[in-house]
Every structure is written in C-alpha cells, then in structure tokens.
C-alpha cells in the first residue's frame, strides 16, 4: 500500500493499529474535570476530540479552523479556552518556541519511543524506528551517566525528491 504525499513523493503507508484514539483521552479528561470541579460539556468534548486526534504538533490557528469547519457553532473563544484546559490536564503538551513567542501543542498520550520525520513542505508525518539511531542515542546518554527512559524525537525535514507543489 502506498500513498502520494502533497509534496509529490510516494511513501508506504504504515498500517497503524486500530484507531483507538477516542478511547484513551476521554476518561482521563473526565477524571481531570471532576477532580477540578469542572464540567464535561459537549463543546469541550468535541474540541478535545479534534485536538487529541492530531498526529503531531499543531498551532492554535489550525485547530480553530478545523473546529470551525466541523462544528461551526463552536466559537473560537471556546477552542482557545479548551486548549488551556487540556494543557492543564496534561493531555496536551505546550511547546513554547521562545519566551513570549508562539506556542505549538501536541497530544501527550502518544507512545514516546517513536522517532518522527515531519515534512516541512507538506506537513506529512512519518514514524520510523532505526536501531542505529537508538543505539547512538543510548550510548550518548549513558556517557553522560544517565539512563534513558523514554524520548521524543521529531525531525523536521524537506523532501529530497520534491517536485514542488501548490501553495
């Protein structure tokens, strides 16, 4: 099975295991809400569903657009507020590019032992595992006298075969 990426090249589609994304976050979110005396509402749930199904980093603007597209009745203000809540619940991880700068978010639940390549041109995400890389990583960390436990490795890269596409 293969797929043509927006940037032109083809790649094998890694057959992901059954999508159970809906299963994992809802109990955690509801537990958090209960603990905090907050409420499980429909808009909150819908926004969480979209945000937490993202496969990697996203910015709020993108999320606002996605939500508005699927649920026009949900206001941008609610999206912003829900993202804040999800961060507090540790279901989203916020990445500040710099102090006072722009933030990106990504779902926290993902398996932390994957390496990812993100295509800068088409935003496609490719998960991979490379044992040489893994080994080099472990050696480097151990030489600093640490024992690696888990890691997050995202490499932003450009297609070498880029045939150039639309905007």
């Amino acid at each position: 099975m293969s797929k043509t990426l927006p940037c032109g090249r083809k790649r094998a589609v890694s057959q992901s295991k059954t999508d159970r994304s809906g299963d994992l976050w809802r109990p955690r979110l509801n537990e958090f809400l209960k603990k905090k005396g907050l409420r499980a509402t429909r808009p909150r749930d819908l926004v969480a569903g979209i945000a937490l199904s993202k496969k990697s980093h996203f910015d709020i603007q993108t999320l606002v657009k996605d939500v508005s597209f699927r649920y026009p009745e949900i206001s941008p203000a609610t999206v912003y507020r829900t993202v804040g809540t999800l961060c507090e619940a540790d279901l989203l991880t916020e990445t500040m590019q710099s102090k006072g700068g722009v933030s990106l978010y990504e779902p926290s639940l993902e398996d932390e032992h994957h390496d990812h390549v993100v295509c800068i041109d088409c935003n496609e995400i490719i998960e991979f595992h490379d044992s040489n890389l893994e080994r080099a990583q472990n050696r480097a960390v151990e030489s600093m006298e640490f024992k690696p436990v888990r890691h997050r490795h995202v490499i932003y890269a450009r297609c070498l075969k880029l045939g150039k596409v639309e905007d």
Copy 2:
C-alpha cells in the same frame, strides 16, 4: 566550568565555540541585494545582524521584540519586510508548522542541534551534542529521502549517580 544540578551531581557547562556569526552573512546578503537591485541600508543590516545571530529557530514576534529593544527606532514593519528579504536570499529558512499556520525561521548557515536530556528526578535540562548521534540521525532520515532541517530531541532519563553525591 561546572555547575551543580538540583539532583546533586555536577556537570560541565558546554563551552560554545567562538562566535563568528557576524562574519559570514554580510557578504552573502550584499551580494544578493546587488544582484536584485536592492539597497544595503542600515535598518536592513541591523535586523539581519540580530536575526542571523539567533542560535536556533525563532518566531517573528521574538525578533520584533529583540529589534525594538536594541533599536527602538526601527519599526516592526521593517522587521517583517527584512525577514522576507532574508528568506529570499536564503539566509533564513522558513518552516511552516502547518498550512496557513505559524512560521518559524532559522539562520540557514547555522547547523543547529537540539538534543536535550531531561532528568526525571530533578527536572534539570542538559543540552548536548553528540556527533555519532547526529550522524546516525542524518543517515536514518536521508535513507528515507529527506534532508533534515532541524529537530527536537528530548530524552527523559534518570541520573545513574543519583544519591551518592556531595555538594
């Protein structure tokens, strides 16, 4: 030079090599400007100096603030325009987080490494560079026919020496 971590152990503080950032970009920029019939102006030069001395990716907001701080007479509009020029000159690389989303920039001349170990016990963040690791990473990515541009690599780990340290 060394520093004591909250979890007790000491570590060396990495000493960065001589800063030669000022040397490299100006001729390239001026060459570009001449080729395009554009002009070498003082604001342009100053903004370029700040932007191109960044050690890794940054967002425009941050740059605008930095410029305004050092050169309050330079208007934000000029910063935005200059960043555009620097991208065309290939002195800055723009990376879109997502279609229509936020952009980050990084100096193209810089080969930047973002490897971090985060100590699970004391939360300390240790930046490091390991050329074997870097090489393994590049090989892995290139074998997928991508060219690495930047990466975020965070390894959560535990101090091997934890406990048996003196202050």
